[in-house]
């Protein structure tokens, strides 16, 4: 049992983040904690797994108890025997380099006998059919596979409370299916599960309660049936994502939006293989409509991100060409003329102010013009701020601003909405539309069905070439 009594929390140097929370979660409950970003849902679950107050510094008042133990008065190690956590970012939650050791890691830290750990691992691996992921390097797994390992490694631990902190942020449709199975198994085992999320529809079959948070407080509690009944509009107005688990390649999009002009960018000879292995993809010819928003959709691990890297000329071994009007661009020209907004935008922001960031991209530095670009993207107020200090969506806009400043007309996005709530997703969607209105071609790789529905004018299903067959991808 988990209970919160008059709990408030404030991160050192920031505004109050949790305000007077009172909550009791019974054993075997599967509780969804939802709300727009910044509502305090992650902070709430951190009080349960002990990261607050033992890891993140701040001022905590009130008491949180888990199975009768007061979290603040014990150690993280002791709490971790009862509570297991799956985090959002699959890249940073592994301590080991190989998957099998990662599964054993928690139990080893508790000093359980090796024979018992062995049994636990065998039963979890067989139950979830992840034998094919064992004894592999963490660095060679896709995002979805990593998240599966993260869940499995918690399942191996003898914990009775499981916390999921935005676990679906980096998952595609298939990955979410797998996550659902995991949660179903936990429910069956009568574990207490707490999930902080804003993509919520995929959780409906499993939850027993849902808490809606806003500005650090719990504003409403729904039963499982009540929240399922909420309309899409209602969910959106609460800042929640309403996307159903559906296959993005089967989405019908509104074709009326299309311009109907016949200009196309023609991509030829797009072939890439990782270190002489079987080709990841092999696309002899692909036509991309110019001046539109084109969504490239497909499963995690199909090579979509690599496709984007090749498309903007960053893989030497890929000899593709892109025909734009009368010009034929090779790798180097594509590097100069296409702009990729990376999934981790932090990698592409270099300077100490937003304005500077835009100005280094200009052919000839021109402050007025740079400010004009910032104004058009609602970034003027942040001109002097450090790019890394901005929110994720703002960082993306800074990257786009620098793309515009460098005069590029084809802009690529890699998963621009992973982990964003509804209003932030809409902002991205507006941004894409604005780019299109200005005559730019936008190509994005995404598995976000809501983004596809609101923004994309074309969809290209991207299957990768798993079995070596060649595919003409023409729309």
């Amino acid at each position: 049992m988990i209970s919160f009594e008059n709990v408030s929390f404030q991160y050192t140097g920031e505004q109050e983040c949790l305000k007077n929370i009172n909550l009791t979660v019974n054993d075997g409950d599967v509780v969804l904690v939802c709300g727009p970003s910044g509502c305090g849902k992650s902070t709430l679950v951190r009080c349960v797994n002990g990261l607050i107050p033992h890891f993140y510094r701040g001022e905590l008042t009130g008491t949180v108890t888990v199975n009768g133990t007061c979290v603040a008065q014990t150690t993280l190690r002791k709490i971790s025997r009862h509570v297991g956590t799956v985090f959002q970012n699959p890249r940073s939650q592994f301590f080991n380099v190989d998957t099998t050791s990662e599964l054993a890691f928690g139990c080893e830290n508790f000093g359980l006998p090796p024979e018992e750990i062995e049994q636990r691992i065998n039963s979890v691996v067989n139950r979830h059919e992840i034998g094919y992921l064992m004894d592999r390097s963490i660095f060679r797994l896709s995002g979805g596979e990593k998240q599966k390992i993260a869940c499995a490694s918690i399942a191996v631990e003898p914990v009775d409370v499981i916390i999921l902190d935005e676990p679906s942020a980096n998952l595609d449709y298939q990955g979410i299916r797998e996550l659902q199975k995991m949660i179903a198994a936990w429910k069956e085992d009568h574990k207490t599960v707490l999930i902080a999320e804003h993509r919520i529809a995929y959780l409906f079959p499993y939850i027993t309660r849902a808490l809606l948070m806003k500005d650090g407080g719990i504003v409403r509690e729904y039963s499982a049936d009540e929240i399922r009944e909420l309309s899409e509009e209602k969910l959106h107005s609460l800042g929640l994502r309403a996307e159903q688990a559906e296959d993005p390649s089967e989405i019908r999009i509104d074709t009326d939006m299309r311009r109907g002009n016949t200009d196309t960018l023609v991509l030829s000879n797009m072939k890439y293989s990782y270190r002489k292995e079987k080709p990841v993809f092999d696309i002899p010819r692909m036509e991309i409509p110019a001046g539109e928003i084109v969504g490239i959709v497909g499963a995690n691990g199909a090579g979509k991100s690599t496709f984007l890297r090749c498309l903007c000329g960053m893989e030497k071994s890929c000899k593709a060409t892109l025909k734009v009007g009368d010009e034929l661009w090779n790798n180097k020209q594509r590097r100069r003329n296409l702009y990729l907004v990376m999934q981790d935008v932090n990698h592409q922001l270099f300077t100490d102010s937003v304005l500077e960031e835009v100005m280094i991209s200009q052919e000839n530095e021109n402050r007025e013009e740079a400010l004009e670009i910032l104004r058009s993207l609602d970034l003027e107020a942040y001109a002097d701020k450090h790019p890394l200090a901005l929110s994720g969506g703002q960082k993306q806009r800074v990257a786009v601003a620098s793309a515009i400043a460098s005069g590029r007309n084809v802009i690529l996005f890699d998963e621009p909405t992973s982990g964003l709530d509804y209003s932030h997703m809409l902002q991205v969607s507006e941004l894409l539309k604005k780019l299109r209105e200005n005559g730019r071609t936008v190509i994005l790789v995404t598995h976000d069905t809501e983004l596809i529905k609101t923004a994309c004018t074309y969809i290209i299903p991207f299957a990768g070439i798993k079995h070596g067959e060649k595919k003409e991808m023409i729309i």
Partner: protein, 239 residues
Amino acid sequence: MEYRLDRNVHSLLDPRTKLLLLFTSSVFVVGNAGERWMVVFYWILVYLPVLLLLVEKEWVTAAVAGAIYVGCYFAQRALQHDLTAVESALALLLYVITKILPTVILARYIVRTTKVSEFLTAMRRMHVTDKLTIPISVIFRFFPTVAEESRSINDAMRMRGIEMGAKKATEAVEYRLVPLIASCSIIGEELSAAAMTRGLDVGKKRSCIWNIRFGWFDRIIMALCAACFIWWGIGRFYV
């Protein structure tokens, strides 16, 4: 198909043997202790990592390393007259390769084949404090991350066309280092949080699913290392 964990899956050697070998190699190959006196052991220690690669079925790496050693050996023999500037730079490069490469291959072999958990347990048995072993295991876990991050940053710089535009050397350094440190720092924070919610702590007893024990090969390698030091001692103090 049912999965069964094999707790004996590990490389040929015990982590402790591997470290002893690394130590010996850094004394006699890189440090070149004993010089001519040790020449037989020197060559054994140079080629041993190649054998270890073969055992791990890393055919290509082993073949390349072997070819480099042989090539360097003959090239060095050819370069034993008075050298011009270019030749001496080349000789230096060869020297660095023959000295450093065996140990680098060995270190890479150790990192690739030693599981974090095995390493922590083996070190614990040797009474090495967690205060050294936890950071060391993080370093090994983190080298690939640093490489991954800096590759992405490099890509971004190339795409934005500022790798050439960095007229000032300071900017080139700043643009590379700042995002790298920022993102490593964030990853590090998240890694610590994740590891601590899974019960990692300093100085607490932990178990290990991998069976760690000395086998025949361990004894052979340890005997070899001991022989190196004894032979060196003989040469140093009695001859």
